[in-house]
């Protein structure tokens, strides 16, 4: 394995925000990953699509609002964000509800994309 090798990393998010810490802490991984110049994709499936639902207001639950960090991803050249079509539909959400630009893919299309990755990390 040589220095400067570029691998395809996919981060799979399937959990809703706030109920558990996975959404926040996986975002922290992605930000660090940006420094490594790898080929990064984020896939939001199942309840993970809720992570991108715009308009978080966390004052009432007194936790830090980390949603602005999703918007910062583009500054780090992380802009391959894929959202599962079936998951949006099952939750009454649309692409317009997302806080950042995303590409909506079917599960099968996400599955095909997964097959092309070198490393798939789940949180």
């Amino acid at each position: 394995m040589s220095e400067g090798q570029i691998k395809k990393f996919m981060y799979v998010n399937r959990k809703a925000p706030h109920g558990t810490i996975y959404a926040l802490e996986s975002l922290e991984v992605v930000l660090i990953a940006a420094a490594f110049d790898q080929d990064v994709s984020l896939a939001f499936m199942d309840d993970g699509v809720y992570q991108l639902k715009k308009g978080f207001n966390t004052k009432g639950i007194e936790v830090k609002n980390f949603q602005p960090t999703y918007r910062a991803l583009d500054d780090y050249d992380i802009n391959k964000l894929y959202v599962e079509k079936e998951a949006l539909e099952a939750r009454g959400l649309t692409q317009e509800d997302m806080c950042v630009p995303v590409e909506v893919l079917s599960r099968a299309e996400i599955g095909k994309l997964m097959e092309t990755q070198d490393v798939v990390l789940s949180f």
């Binding site: 691998k7 802490e25 922290e28 991984v29 660090i32 990953a33 490594f36 490393v119 990390l121 949180f123």
Partner: protein, 119 residues
Amino acid sequence: MKIAILINEGPYTHEATDSAYLFARAAIEKGHQVSRVFFYHDGVNNSTRLTEPPQDDRHIVNRWAKLAEEHEIDLVVCVAAALRRGIKDENLAPGFRISGLGQLIEAGIQADRMVTFGD
């Protein structure tokens, strides 16, 4: 092959760290190298030296430390996740080291395979 492992959950509450340990041990028995085990989220709790499980049950923290020592496995605990959960050098078990998330990415880049164990 060089195999890296990510563990997302703490000891005893979830089976994740048990599965990961038995997997790691089997990988070594098969002649593979377990290059790094990265502990994230509640997984950092696998590294505290303060656990006192019942005597007649497995000692999860110690057996990771022992496996790591015998087979030169790098046990890395994420600093950010550790600080959130009160794991610091002063209560870190021997055999583990605290470092940044970059170590997880580096493990993914350098290993041939990476397996995640979690909830």
